[in-house]
């Protein structure tokens, strides 16, 4: 499987190297891959790349954690209580219609462009999918399973922890995965727009200096991290869902 899938990327890579060597590519379109490698080496040895990556990761961690926790709580409220759902559904819906980045100017005016801004925006982008999926997951717990809990005289806490939560877990996890993906996306956007450090800033800086090698380097790192985040959560999810025997 890896063999066939790698064919096209490898071919593209070869074309890239060739074009650079033959001079078909100008610096403005795509830098020489060797330059990108060299720049990467420089940035790694100077520690700058690591520092920027660490900053970006920290922001995502904080933002995602905050957003996910609040999302779980609000989502659970909406999923478990008809009343809560009735009250929260409409405002939630309307607010989530505004693209996340649309809130940015308002937030900048209110809290400036410090760390709080980034964490807030990232938290918000994680909050929406987590809340939605959690609410859905809890609401969709089949009545048949709920009745099993009732017949076994479960108190509300047992009901929640033994039946509703496990049943809703797949949906909750989907929400968490989406939330993390959104968090990462938003982080990059915010760092491009309003930051003086981090991977997004690195990219924007490279752009300003017309140094595409920096931009490409940062791009690759951004993609790699996105991949790792996604893959990790996928593994955790699969482990939690062992009981779902998949048909081939």
């Amino acid at each position: 499987m890896l063999g066939a899938g790698a064919a096209v990327p490898v071919a593209l890579l070869a074309v890239w190297v060739l074009s650079a060597r033959q001079g078909w590519l100008t610096e403005q379109i795509l830098p020489d891959p060797r330059e990108v490698l060299q720049t990467t080496r420089d940035y790694v040895t100077s520690g700058e790349l690591l520092a920027d990556t660490a900053i970006s990761l920290r922001r995502v961690a904080e933002g995602f954690a905050a957003g996910a926790v609040i999302g779980l709580v609000i989502g659970a409220a909406q999923g478990l209580s008809q009343g809560a759902r009735a009250i929260l559904e409409l405002p939630f819906f309307v607010i989530s219609q505004v693209p996340i980045l649309g809130w940015l100017p308002l937030l900048i005016l209110l809290v400036g462009i410090d760390e709080e801004l980034k964490v807030i925006v990232i938290a918000w982008s994680a909050f929406v999918p987590v809340a939605l999926n959690t609410a859905q997951g809890m609401r969709d717990v089949p009545r048949t399973l709920r009745e099993v809990g009732q017949v076994l005289t479960f108190d509300p806490w047992s009901m929640l922890s033994r039946i509703i939560l496990p049943a809703a877990l797949p949906s909750i996890f989907t929400g968490l995965r989406e939330g993390l993906a959104h968090s990462w996306q938003t982080l990059v956007a915010v760092e491009l727009f309003a930051s003086s450090e981090g991977l997004g800033y690195l990219m924007s800086w490279g752009r300003q200096l017309f140094q595409l090698d920096i931009v490409v380097m940062a791009l690759v790192v951004v993609g790699a991290i996105g991949l790792v985040l996604n893959w990790t959560l996928g593994r955790v999810e699969r482990r939690l869902r062992r009981w779902q025997v998949q048909t081939a």
Binding site: V151, I163, Q244
Partner: protein, 181 residues
């Protein structure tokens, strides 16, 4: 076993009326149903599909409290489910994220028994339904009949006074039936 007729009934269904409301229209499910069950009796309710058998069972269980009339156990009104009344539903309704063993053990959660005793009860009842070898299997890996047997073990593990069974159908073979207490 002969049960003298003057023995007090342990389960009384007293002029029960139940009407559902479907899309604004009333659908009567039970009308003036009365029944007494004495200790040790085995009662089978036979009727055409949709005649209200499952509904009656739910009332006895205490899953549904919206009806006219009374359902009494030992003379006391049934208000909510209790571990004295266990049910095997039409579908096994096993919790898919727990093993067979886990599902049976789940029924003992509210029993207040010590862990060792619970484990003992679980393995006894799995043995009773002949599924000791499948204790660690996920419900998704069990056939319909096997899952229903786990559901039966789950219903029996609390040693209920009343065992209700809602059309378990051919899920139980005669041999298994014989093994019941």
């Amino acid at each position: 076993m002969h049960i003298p007729h003057d023995t007090k009934p342990v389960l009384e269904i007293d002029r029960v009326d139940k009407t559902f409301h479907v899309a604004g229209r009333p659908v009567p499910a039970l009308r003036d149903v009365s029944l007494d069950v004495r200790p040790g009796e085995f009662v089978a309710i036979v009727g055409a599909s949709g005649c209200g058998k499952s509904t009656l069972l739910r009332l006895i269980l205490g899953l549904d409290t919206d009806y006219q009339g009374e359902v009494r156990v030992d003379g006391r009104r049934v208000e909510r489910p209790g571990l004295d009344r266990a049910i095997v539903f039409q579908e096994p309704r096993l919790l898919p994220w727990l093993s067979a063993e886990g599902n049976v053990a789940m029924a003992l959660r509210r029993s207040g028994l010590p862990k060792a005793e619970r484990r003992q009860l679980v393995s006894e009842h799995l043995k009773l339904v002949g599924l000791t070898a499948f204790a660690d299997a996920w419900p998704a890996q069990l056939s319909g009949g096997m899952a229903q047997r786990v559901a039966l073990a789950r219903a029996l593990v609390n040693r209920p006074r009343f065992l209700l069974m809602d059309e378990p159908l051919g899920a139980l073979d005669a041999l298994t039936r014989l093994r019941l207490h």
